[in-house]
């Protein structure tokens, strides 16, 4: 952020204090986003924009509001701040609403997380077109007569922000991200048109998946779905492919949040320090991972970030508890939400695991479904392949898995050697035993 922005955020916080706010926290942000999509060997979408804004938290003796506004001129912000303070006073007092005790701000790590690509500014629009065009071409070159549609897309973002509170917190952040995606739709029997896809994100261009690899995996994902159908309902071992692993874990994660715990919406209430999964269920939260997509030096409360062992050999070590809910629950805060989540990976490939597993399902993607954070029950639609001793038997569709998270993670019997590299959740393919798979 330039000096003008630094001066502006100080002025915002000071203006809030001058107009009756007992405490305030402000964040200024600016982002630039470029989105290019190719289809039929020409650009289908070319989109580019910059955004900016202010997010302002006002605390008036236990009364709290947060509002955002895109216009950053002082002439506008002055009235905005006064109005927000006036309106905050209508709310009911909550003794737990306050900025954190400043002692919690100290201890920030002095490391360069390398979140911003130094070459971002030199990445021209023409180069973006070329990259996306090459992604599409690589997919088209995998083509067969059954290909109906091929699409390639990239979205890249540059963002910077600055945060300041009235009780002494200051922070600046800067980062880039690139996301790429390819999709191939093919013709199957009847009217079915399966589509395969592959996508990934990285802080730097060099961290993205290779065009040829994307094309190979997208094509395979589509072709693997040909002739999909249901199999009989039965209990089977399932392998959840690495890029789908975050989806199944998200149901467990939601129960780790302070808000859900305090509101009794969590099946993990009173489960801290208890066994909630098999010995293979280990999870680290690492906000200090260099070039990590969710890396950060401080969290939303301004707390310095550190690596945390959330789950170790099946034992739940920590919850995600922010300042507000820590006060409501009379607990020490940890951090409000996850950063980069890392699960240790195993030694064998999915293919090798399948050979030893007998009959089972390889889940390549989920469809719909949900998880009840209060009870842990979940039920999710699946797509993938039925295998038997390492051989693919058939593609499956219109099928479902269901269980309870308090039981599921005890059934984690192996993790593969393939941690997902293109997202903030670095989870490997996971093998679960004895899962109810609903079909015919």
């Amino acid at each position: 952020m330039n000096q003008d922005m630094k001066d502006l955020i100080k002025w915002v916080v000071q203006t809030a204090q001058d107009n009756g706010s007992s405490q305030s926290a402000a964040q200024l942000y600016k982002t630039r986003e470029v989105n290019i999509r190719y289809r039929e060997s020409k650009p289908e979408i070319v989109k580019e924009a910059t955004k900016q804004g202010l997010i302002l938290e006002i605390y008036c003796d236990g009364k709290f509001s947060v509002q955002s506004i895109p216009d950053l001129r002082k002439s506008v912000l002055g009235d905005f701040i006064k109005e927000q303070i006036r309106n905050t006073l209508y709310l009911e007092e909550d003794p737990f609403r306050s900025l954190p005790d400043p002692e919690y701000y100290s201890g920030r790590a002095m490391v360069d997380l390398q979140k911003a690509d130094p070459d971002y500014a030199d990445f021209s629009i023409e180069q973006r077109h070329q990259k996306v065009s090459e992604m599409e071409t690589a997919c088209l070159e995998k083509g067969s007569d059954s290909f109906l549609s091929v699409q390639a897309e990239m979205i890249d973002t540059y963002g910077e922000s600055m945060s300041l509170t009235s009780n002494g917190f200051e922070g600046e952040d800067e980062g880039t991200s690139y996301s790429v995606y390819t999709e191939i739709t093919i013709r199957d029997e009847g009217a079915r048109k399966p589509n395969g896809y592959f996508g990934g994100s990285a802080r730097r261009l060099a961290g993205l998946p290779d065009h040829q690899d994307m094309a190979e995996r997208t094509s395979k994902d589509a072709l693997d779905q040909l002739g999909a159908g249901k199999i009989p309902t039965e209990r089977l071992p399932v392998i959840i492919q690495n890029n789908s692993s975050p989806r199944i874990f998200s149901g467990f994660l939601s129960a780790m949040f302070g808000g859900n715990l305090q509101q009794k919406r969590s099946f993990l209430l009173d489960k801290k320090d208890q066994k909630v999964g098999s010995d293979l269920f280990t999870l680290m939260d690492d906000p200090l991972l260099v070039k990590g997509l969710a890396s950060r030096l401080y969290d939303g409360d301004g707390f310095p970030c550190k690596t945390r062992s959330m789950i170790q050999n099946g034992i739940l070590n920590e919850y995600y508890i922010d300042w507000y809910y820590s006060r409501k629950m009379d607990l020490e805060p940890s951090t409000g939400g996850p950063s980069n989540l890392i699960m240790p990976h195993g030694k064998r490939s999915v293919r090798d695991i399948m050979k030893d597993l007998g009959r089972g399902i390889l889940i390549t993607s989920f469809i719909g479904g949900n998880s009840n954070s209060t009870t842990g029950d979940f039920s999710i639609g699946i797509m993938g392949q039925l295998f038997d001793r390492g051989e693919i038997v058939q593609a499956i569709s219109e099928m479902n898995i269901a269980d309870n998270h308090l039981l599921l993670w005890h059934k984690l019997i192996e993790t593969a050697n393939d941690p997902w590299k293109y997202g903030s959740f670095s989870l490997p393919s996971m093998v679960f035993d004895n899962i109810m798979v609903a079909g015919t």
């Binding site: 289809r39 020409k42 650009p43 289908e44 979408i45 070319v46 989109k47 580019e48 924009a49 910059t50 955004k51 709290f64 509001s65 947060v66 509002q67 955002s68 506004i69 895109p70 216009d71 001129r73 002439s75 506008v76 009235d79 905005f80 109005e83 927000q84 309106n87 905050t88 009911e92 007092e93 909550d94 629009i125 109906l148 549609s149 739709t185 009217a191 079915r192 048109k193 399966p194 589509n195 779905q225 249901k230 509101q263 009794k264 469809i367 719909g368 479904g369 209060t374 009870t375 979940f378 039920s379 639609g381 797509m383 219109e398 479902n400 898995i401 269901a402 269980d403 609903a438 079909g439």
Partner: protein, 514 residues
Amino acid sequence: MESISRRKFISGYAAATGAILISPYLSDCSQFRRDMKTKYFESEFGIDQTLCRKLLETALSRGGDFADLYFEHTTTNSLGLEDGKVNLANGNIKLGVGIRTVKGNQVGYGFTQILTGESMESAARTASSLVNTSASPVSGNFSHPDLMNYYPTDPLSMEFPVPSKIPMMQDLNDACFGLSRYVQKATVSFMDEIKHIMIVTSDGNMVEDVLPMNYLSASAIGEKDGRTERAGWNIGGRRDFSYYDDSVIKEISGKVISDLSKNFDAIQPPAGEMPVVLGPGVTGILLHEAIGHGMEADFNHKSVSIYSDMLGKKVAESFVTIIDDGTMDGYSGSLNVDDEGTHGQKTILVEDGILVSYMHDRISANHYNVKPTGNGRRESYEHIPYPRMRNTYMMPGEASSEDVIKNIRHGVYVENVGNGQVYVGQGDFSFYVPQGYLIEEGQLTAPIKDFNIMGNGPKMLENITLVANDLVMDNGGTGYCGKESQRVKVGFGLPTCQVKSLTVGGTKKTGGLS
């Protein structure tokens, strides 16, 4: 080009921030309606025809079939009650313009949050970068068509003042606790939004609208005999404050506690293929996922929808008629005008079992050489419009709801639906059922909950075997549809309806088909 004056920005934002909790700006409500329906962007931000024409000329300066401008000024406010106190307010202001240049099915798009001539010109140049031919013309005159009004809002009740919202939310909280001794926690939220839009097209259309959107919701956590369960419900739509009377509080709290009580007694849901009966109302999400998305024309003109070869063909029994309708007073998906300037309308998708129309935006309508159906929608000025659903429902049949159930020996009855998803190419869809019942020997028996149902759209359409005469439109306000990373508000409706066979994703294995 002239910058927007300071006064105009302050005026706009004072109104916006005022509306976050109380809206002094709206005290002269008749003025509010008149000003906001016509020339709002001109009076508040200096956006006149001359400026619009210049921006459109820039957007088409390198060619293109057409261009459009989408101006938006939205204020969104929400209040939250937790642990007995209305102790959280959130507010957000959106102001900006999205500028689109279209050539065939190619789109160039730029947007800006700053409504200065320089910034908007830059966005128009970004949009124009898609093509590189000679300039295309912009219409010499802009027409201002009159719109029908599908938002039943009384100008005198357009305010949502906090002094009224807080006791209403407290009453709902108290009602939840008062109806059941098992309630341990309750949360209540109220959201209200006013969106001003103006769409200006290069072929001479200039139209403005003001879209209200609001809802009241509650959820409760209860404990009974060592079992903890949760239930929630909401009511809303394109309403005004007078809509939220005691009957709404009674309906929400009654539904929350009724569902919570059923959840305490719910047994494990079955797993496998079996007949499914969808109760009336919010279960219309089934249509949205199983059929609706596949009938959005962009998927079809790209040949990536399972329905792309089915236009004009029989897809269901003759008693099945499915409609997507933007003209229903007050429902979440209703639109006086879509986000491309096409008037709100009603579109029959399946008529007497025949697939008769897709849902179109301007691009797909041009591809199919038909008129746009008013389905061109976008989340905000930051987003490109696509064909999207509005309120999607099935027309009632002739059977009674009892008839629909009585011939099933073993199946499930779906009472509520939480969410769903579809893969439009495969046609495979899912929807999640937070509440339902077992059907045994033609009767509803034990409550079941938290299971997913899987199916395939065209197969499901063929398998609709009975439709009752009890169509109910869901009056919820939180329902939205996600597509292309955009959310838009939608509505649902369904009469009680029997599907011969779907896969029920429970945990308890049962026998085969009834």
